[in-house]
Chain length 283, copies 4
Amino acid sequence: MSETDKKLVLTLSCPDQPGIVHAVSGLVGEAGGNILQSAQFGDPDTGLFFMRVSMDVPAVEPVKTRVEALADDFKMNWNLDEIGRPLRTVIMVSKEGHCLSDLLYRVRDNALPIDVKAVVGNHPDLAPIATFYQVPFILVPVTKDNKPEAEQRLLDLVEAEKVELVVLARYMQILSDKLCGRMSGRIINIHHSFLPSFKGAKPYAQAHDRGVKLIGATAHYVTADLDEGPIIEQDVARVDHTLTVAAMQKQGQDVERRVLAQAVKWHAEHRVLMDGNRTVIFH
Amino acid sequence: MSETDKKLVLTLSCPDQPGIVHAVSGLVGEAGGNILQSAQFGDPDTGLFFMRVSMDVPAVEPVKTRVEALADDFKMNWNLDEIGRPLRTVIMVSKEGHCLSDLLYRVRDNALPIDVKAVVGNHPDLAPIATFYQVPFILVPVTKDNKPEAEQRLLDLVEAEKVELVVLARYMQILSDKLCGRMSGRIINIHHSFLPSFKGAKPYAQAHDRGVKLIGATAHYVTADLDEGPIIEQDVARVDHTLTVAAMQKQGQDVERRVLAQAVKWHAEHRVLMDGNRTVIFH
Amino acid sequence: MSETDKKLVLTLSCPDQPGIVHAVSGLVGEAGGNILQSAQFGDPDTGLFFMRVSMDVPAVEPVKTRVEALADDFKMNWNLDEIGRPLRTVIMVSKEGHCLSDLLYRVRDNALPIDVKAVVGNHPDLAPIATFYQVPFILVPVTKDNKPEAEQRLLDLVEAEKVELVVLARYMQILSDKLCGRMSGRIINIHHSFLPSFKGAKPYAQAHDRGVKLIGATAHYVTADLDEGPIIEQDVARVDHTLTVAAMQKQGQDVERRVLAQAVKWHAEHRVLMDGNRTVIFH
Amino acid sequence: MSETDKKLVLTLSCPDQPGIVHAVSGLVGEAGGNILQSAQFGDPDTGLFFMRVSMDVPAVEPVKTRVEALADDFKMNWNLDEIGRPLRTVIMVSKEGHCLSDLLYRVRDNALPIDVKAVVGNHPDLAPIATFYQVPFILVPVTKDNKPEAEQRLLDLVEAEKVELVVLARYMQILSDKLCGRMSGRIINIHHSFLPSFKGAKPYAQAHDRGVKLIGATAHYVTADLDEGPIIEQDVARVDHTLTVAAMQKQGQDVERRVLAQAVKWHAEHRVLMDGNRTVIFH
C-alpha cells in the first residue's frame, strides 16, 4: 500500500460490548480520515459484534497501528484492505464452463475485483476459455490414486501465488478435510441446488423426481462437511412439469453463475463475515 | 347443471397414444360446442397424457355422454365441471390466522372460486374471523385420546356437506393415513418451508440455524407420507442475518398465504392434475 | 416517554462532513447507552449525510438534550423516538378493500407498528372491515363541490388525533396541493403501477394495451405533483397474454397490498429518510 | 428438410371460429403423425386465434400440403419448421459486450437454437469476442452521413446469408423506418429499462433521478416507433439508494443479457406470435 490518500475497508468481529462503534469512528478521526460507509450487526444468539467500515484516509499506517491496538482491547478478528484491490484468486473447474465463462467476463469487464492467477481444471475442456481471457490454465487430473498429489499441487500454487481465494466453479471433486481446514473461509463453492434441499450428487434429477416448482443454487464457503458450509448467497428460478432434467439443468446454470458471481463479488469486497455456520453480509 | 349455453372445463389423463387431441376436439364439435382454451402434456417418464379443455357448449349432457364413451376407449381418468362453479370447501385451522383471513377475503372478493362450508378449528382463536366472513366455525379440539373421533367429525362434515376440498390453513395436526387415503388429491396443505428443505416441525428455526438466504413455503396435496405429497406451488422471500426466527416467521407468513391461495385457486379451476408424485399445472 | 431503560431510534440528515458518526456514537456513550444498530449513507449527488441509530439507554432526556446540541452544530434534521411506538395513523379508502383489509390484519397481528385512529372513506363500502377490526369508520363523501370541506374534516381529524401518518389505501381522490404541502412526508400512497410507467388513471388498462410482461405497484410519499412523489417501495408480478384487464387487476392487488404494507412498516420503523425526490431506506 | 420421421412445429394465427383445433389435429393424424405439444389462445379483444403445435411425423410434405389447404380455408398466417433448426441470425453490437458474450456462449453451449452468421459492429471493440466464438465480425461504422449505405450493407448481408433474425445486442443506433418495415417481426432489441418507463437515452440515469427501487430490461420487436414495439420479455432487479448510475448500469447488464437471451430463445423456438402490438407467448 502506498501512503497518500487511500480508501480502506476495515472489517472486524469481536464479543459485543458498548463503545466499539465510538472507538472505531474515533480511530478514523485520529488518523485524519473520514468514514465513507459503516455498517454493524450484533448477533443476539452468539453475542458477537460485526462491523464493516470504509474510510478515506491520508495514510494507511496510522490506521493500521491504531486498529492493532484496538484489536487487543476488544479481542477483535479484523482485516484491513484497500478498497478495490483485487483478491489473488484461483478458479477450479471440471467440464461445465458456464460459471467460468461468466466470472472471467466479469473480471475483464471490471465488474468483479479479483485477479485470477490461474484456472485449474481436472479436465482439459475449458482451457480455451481461460486462454481467451489470458489466464493460465493448469491441468491437474484427479484420480482415485493421485488425490493427495493433486491437492498438493493446488497448495503449492496457493503458496507460490499467495492465493487469497479459491473459487470452485462447478469443480466436481470433493476436497480433503485437510485442504478445507487450511483454506477455511477462503474457498467458495457453487452447489447446484437450493441447500439444504438436494445435497450431494445429481440435484436436478432429485428436484425433478420431487416435482418442485422452483430450482435453486447456493454459493457457500467450503468446510469439511460437504454442502454444509456457511451460505453466502442463494437464488431460485421457476420450473414446471414440462421441463426434463436436462432442461432444468440448463435453466439452473443461469442461476448458478449469477449466484456464484454475486457471492464472489461480496467476498472480494469484504462484505461477508463468518458468524459460526452463518454469514453476516453487509450489502 | 342447467342445459342452455354452458361453459365447461374437461380435464383428463390417460396412457399416451396418437389421436387423443383429435378425438376430444371432435367431441366438442359434435356436441355443437367451441373450444375456448386447450392445453396438453405428455410425460415421457410415465407415458401418461394430460389434457385440460375449456369449451362453450349449448348443453351439458351431449358432452358428458361423449366423454364417457371416449373415456372407455382411452382408459381415461376425467372430470367435467362448469367453469367457475365454486368447490364445496372446508378450511382447517389452529391458532395462526394469516392464511384463513387471506383465503376468506379472496372468496368474498370473488377472487377464489370456493364455497367455504365451514372453518374447523382445533382451537377457538380464529372463530371471529370466520364469523366476520359469515362462515360457520366448528370447534373440534384434538387431543392424544380423541383423534379418531375428531377425524370422524370431519368425515361426517365432508359427507353431510358433500365437501370436495379440504384446505389445511396452518392446521397443526397430522391427519391419519386413513383420512389421507380417503380424501386423496382433495386435501391441500401449506408447509412453512421450501420443501424438501426443513420438513417437520419448526422450519423457520431450522432455516435460521442453517443460515439460508431465502425462506419459502410449499402448498402440496396431503398424502400419508408427511410433507412428501405432490407439490402444487412454492415461492420464496429473501432474508438476511439480521432477522430473528420470529421475524422470519412473520415474513414467511406473507409467502405462506400467497402460495396457499394460489394453489387453492389453481385446484378449484381444475388446473392441477396428479402425475404420480408430481403435478401437472395448466396455467 | 418514561425514563427507565429505553430503546430509542434516532434518524438524522445533514450536510456531510467528517466526524458525524463519532459525534453520534459519543453522544450515546455519554448518555450511558449502547448502540444496537447503526447505518449511514452519504449521497455524493446532494452532499447530504443520512444516519439511523438504534440504542439502548437508561433514560431519554439526556439523549435528547445532547442530540439537540449536536443538531445545532451539524445543522441536522432529526427525529428521536421509542422503538416500536405505534404511529398515530389514519387510513383513507374508497371502495376496494384489499389494502385496508391487509393493513388492519397486520396491525392486529402485531406485524405493523401503527395505531389506526380511524378509517376515512368517501364511500361507505368498507365500513364493515373497519368495524370488524374495531377501528372507527368515518364517511366523508367527496364531490366536486365539497372538496375543501372534506379536506378540512381530514385536517381536523389529523389535529384532534395528533395523526402522524395518513395512508391512502386505494383512495381514489386527488388531494389538494395545500394538504399535500401541510402533510409533506407524512402521506403514503399506493399507485397501482410500476411508476413512472402508467401514471394517472386506469394503469392496468394501459398495461394491457402496451402488452407488458410484468405489472407492478409503487408506494410513494404524496406531493403536489401527482404520482411523482419520492418512491418508498415497488414490486412486480408476472403476467401473460391470457390475462384480461380485470384479471390483471386482481393479480395486481396482491402486489399493491404487499408493497403498501412494506412501505408503511419501514416508515413506521423510521427507516425511510427523504433525500430530495428520492428516499434513503435503512433496512 | 429430409423426409423420414421429423419433428415439426406449426404456428398459426387466424380469425377465431369453431373447428380450428379439430381441423389441425385431424391434419396431423391424416399425415400419420402424432401431436407432441399443443397450445392455443383466442384473443377476445382482436378476435384472433393463435396456435402452436409440435408433432412427430413420418414426412414433411404431406403436412405442408395439408396446412396450405387449411390456411386457405381459415385465412391463416402460418409457419412450419423443423424443431430445433437454428435460425440464421445476425447480431448487431456497439461497444458493450455483455449481451454478445452471453448469446455466443449459449449458442456454443447448445442452449440457444440460432446459427450466428455474423456479428456486425459499428465499433471494432467486440471483434475479439466474435472471433473467439468463431463467428465472422463485420465492422460497419455508422456516421451521420453514411447511414443509408450502412443499412444497405446490412440488407445485403441479410439477403446473402438468408438471415431470418437480427438481434440488436446493445446496438446504439436507430434503424431506419424502411429497414424496420422490411424486417418486421424479425428484429429483436434489448432496451435497458422496464418499458414504457424511461424510453430513449440514458435510462439508468433517468431511473436514478426518479429514485426507483427496481430497474429492468425489455426485449421487444423493433418497429418504426422507437421503444414502442411488441414486448417479448421483461425482468427487473432490485436497487437501492446506495447505487450510483454506473453501479445501476452494471447491475442492469445482468438483467439485460438474461432477458435478451430468453426472448431470442422463445423466438427461435417459434413460441412468440404477434397480436397487434402485443405478443402471445406459448411457453
